[in-house]
Symmetry: D2
């Protein structure tokens, strides 16, 4: 079975593993206060083209989202997100468990737009009894989204401007940020995120590391006492240097981006063939995840040899599915899939 169903099926890239092995018996202080974490922060700052940012390393995405969001909001505030957003549908109520409502904006492609945030904000404050409703307190988006779509720089600038005008911190979930940055359709850089968001995270788990998410807090007002909340929510790794070491391996040079590029290129190759063969797509993705709509008969055939993720039923006999490329995907496996897809259509 050749597996395309997710981008976290393997361990970590060999350079990451090597550096973990090389540093294994060194003694370092715990809880992220070691030299590797410091070094990794320097590398990331350089890649971001920014000095004055605050970086924390966490283990997973749900943990990062709930910890940061809980650190920002006051008790009566909620976090605005796409109805399809990870925090709204795939984190088992982690945000609500910290006391806050996720305030969904209807979305079909995973994105929300500046005017929608403005409308929600204006509607809230236009109420005479606004204190009877949850107050919007920040905005959460994903880049790329859970559906592989991307915010353009112009869209992000518009969103950022509205958020600033409304006093709503803008937070970007970057679980697959590398795959977004290296997409041929992308025009948003790390430096743009520093410029346009209040915080974002650079995902590691799905990008070639064993685990790890690097939270970048840009807005100085949101940094105070973050490590307390990190500890409280269970996100402060005792051997924190494991995160530092892995991010060093990734960001010392360009490994993070090279691995992302590899996955995106394979995804574009597959996408081109699928389009050529006449398949339509559930989402217009130019990142590592592709969501073609295929007939159940075709899926049954392909499923004999390849693992994919079921996404949703489209009609009686068709479904949208996900093929996921990653840093670990072999080109020969994609080629084999392409060949079998072509065969199907003959």
């Amino acid at each position: 079975m050749i597996r395309f169903e997710c981008d976290y099926g393997e361990g970590a890239h060999s350079q990451v593993m090597q550096m973990l092995a090389d540093t294994n018996m060194e003694q370092t202080p715990g809880y992220g206060e070691d030299a590797y974490c410091e070094k990794a922060k320097e590398y990331i700052k350089k890649h971001c083209g920014a000095e004055d940012i605050d970086i924390h390393f966490l283990v997973g995405g749900t943990q990062t989202n709930m910890t940061f969001i809980a650190s920002v909001l006051r008790p009566h505030q909620g976090v605005v997100a796409a109805s399809t957003g990870h925090i709204n549908v795939h984190e088992s109520g982690a945000i609500e468990a910290t006391g806050h409502k996720v305030m969904p904006i209807p979305s079909t492609d995973g994105k929300i737009y500046a005017h929608q945030v403005k409308e929600l904000y204006d509607e809230h404050w236009s109420l005479s009894n606004h204190e009877h409703e949850v107050q919007p307190g920040m905005v959460y988006i994903s880049q790329p989204t859970e559906n592989g779509t991307l915010y353009t720089k112009a869209e992000l600038e518009a969103l950022s401007a509205v958020c600033k005008a409304c006093g709503l911190p803008l937070y970007v979930d970057g679980a697959r940020l590398g795959y977004g940055i290296m997409s041929p359709a992308n025009d948003v850089s790390l430096n743009d995120l520093v410029r346009l968001s209040d915080a974002f995270y650079i995902g590691g788990t799905k990008q070639g590391m064993l685990f790890g998410e690097a939270l970048v807090i840009v807005n100085p007002a949101l940094r105070r006492d973050f490590r307390y909340i990190l500890k409280q929510k269970g996100g402060m790794l005792a051997k924190g240097r494991l995160l530092g070491v892995q991010y060093c391996a990734m960001f010392k040079e360009n490994l993070y981006f090279e691995l992302s590029d590899h996955a995106d290129k394979l995804a574009m190759k597959l996408k081109a063939v699928l389009a050529e063969l006449g398949y339509s797509f559930r989402y217009e993705s130019y990142t590592n995840q592709q969501f073609p709509i295929m007939s159940d008969a075709e899926l049954a055939e392909i499923g004999k040899k390849y693992a994919y993720s079921f996404w949703e039923k489209v009609d009686e006999s068709h479904s949208a599915v996900r093929f996921c490329m990653s840093w670990a995907t072999k080109e020969e496996d994609v080629d084999a899939l392409i060949e079998d897809l072509r065969a199907l259509k003959k």
Copy 2:
């Protein structure tokens, strides 16, 4: 100005006030452990036609909802409700503040239906990774709804059957329960609620009392230690007998129902005239709240003399508004309104 904008504008019915005055200097134990609370529970049990129910008196609706819901759910569970439900939109995130998601079912009239609950439940449990999503843990409805609509007995039986089959406690918000019970369109009795729900509350605040909501816990499995949570959430009134006394006044005989009947009759009178004059209604309400759609010009004219609640814009020049009758509404005031409405149409 004659006021129809809500049903909590006045104090309490004179019999309630009298009984508070009569008992004022008596000394009783605190926290609801007095003889008046005991008596009131007996009266309510008689009206419910049920002996084995557990009754607690609370001060307000938001408090009652969040306290009971928090007492039922485990941390990973959410409460299913109409998207328009009071807990979803008008309680400032009280449910989320106790750690739980409100799981909205789209609704335009305020009601949710058995098949919708079943679908939501089945969809959750059909997921291979269901533990990544909030688990439906109970169902919340309002009778009548915030929009004045009513569940029929058949609808409630269907909902109750699904809830039982799915292991989801069914909880009924009865902030205006009296107005629902006495509606000419109603076929759901207190005893039906005992039979079909796991818990419900009999609202007092909007029904002629100074304040007070009587929570009836039917399901024995949901009763354990409720008074701890009542105290913890700030809902245990020190002079609890104030609630007992008021409910005694209301339920010793039939005052609660007579006052509701009064309001409903006036509402039906107004409704009939509005219909006759050609107005349509935003919701099909046969309870004390009426939601006609009127032109902005008409509303401006009526607004000079009568207070109503704005509900929502319907089109460029029309809005849905709410006229609210209550236990305290005077028939002469409704007649004056009717006369002025007729004059408008001439």
Copy 3:
């Protein structure tokens, strides 16, 4: 049975009841936005000798404490309190339920002292890994304490100075504030509380009202969006004018203080006789609550005719008990008790 076991056994003072009756059928806006609440705030401001304070009316003490404390603290912060403090031992974990630790300072008389707060603060910040412990975020005291003891002005000034120096808001629970203010041993005025605390509440429930606590937020930084949290925690009374009306009755002139004075005078009368008869006291209280230590035999005898509260065992055959005077206590009842106490000793 003559009852001295608590100060919330009766309803409300006749002037309070009268004003509720007089205003009963008036129509007012809900949720505390009526003219009576406005008026009551003016009266209270005048009594406080302060214009720039923010006042909110709540129903009960636990509700007031948890709502205000939750509105002040960030997620990783706790509230410092005497180990005997109401929030630490008698509120069913209400503070913890909002996510915060109560950080107890050992106390035998109910009071905590400036140096203790400073030590706790210094100890926290001296830790190299302070983010592994709860950060002290505010200080809670009661005036008078649950044991009837009083902070002197000098003690309060010292505490206030330390709190300011440490950046810890100081919050004063005034469930029995009137009994404290009118105590012959007291030198702390309402104006002192405005000057020395960040917030305090003026208790009504135990002071002659049906219910009600007036929260005074002095520090402007702690006022923002408080009404949201008030609503969220279930503390926003629909017919908020009931609180306004009662506080009007109490604070238009000096009723609040006259009633307190009445109770304190009776308590001093009883205290003098108890001392004269050779009883010692568990706490040095000069307020409405008295805590004599009596033999079990004496208590059995007294208990035939008078209700008191058991406080704690002192030794094999003696217990500390509480006799509570209130606005409603009749002098003749105290005289009867005194006579019987004297008879016991003959």
Copy 4:
């Protein structure tokens, strides 16, 4: 500098690292549903001598404690613990953040005793108004404690019996469980924990793994839906097999115990010399952590070459400190320390 200040300074044992490297490019399902996790559970069950236990792998100790405790308690319940317990003092309020009070029992050596739990329980239920206080809902202990002390089997049996009698689940924090089990003073086995506790965890982070804690839920009533809460609290590792693999390496044979034994033996060697040299100990520890009391002058001298943890001031010129042995400690380093300690005394 030779480091003895903690037991999480290095990475992982070479066999653990090797197995991670060997399995690195395998593709497995995520979230702990892979074959390595299954295998590891089998091995652990065998070591526990129990089939019917439920095992979950988490990343860290704070996370494990707060996730399990939150899954057990109802909103009004607290967790009973030693005042020195990790959850009470070193987890930044993680338990309170999930809504629950830690109910401390005073302790100087880190242990609590059956009679103390019984007293706390009886005191709570003897209150007439017990619902005004937090209800004890479960008991938390550590084996070994944070101070290196051990519960004997007899003590644990007594505690377990009281907990069962009171209906309080007993949960054992085993962050250093291996060091406890292999202690020469220990008579509590894994199988005893299965027999006597409702749940416990087998720590990995401090025992030779990169990270990882194996939660063993013994009581079937406490297992339901645990994975939801695991996900919600951020504890479900995407590449869950990393935990499975590490526990396989540790528990396939006896590596976990061999490594613990190594550390304990070195600790006993050091302890014997310290005692011989006349030092007293802050705690009577027979596990990997030793807490001698030394003069500040001696500590200054030793500190030039060896890192230790400061624990607490004992008097003007003496402090208790911690020397920590671990799976990674080299005997030659301990020998060097011993030699220098002897030299000090000459």
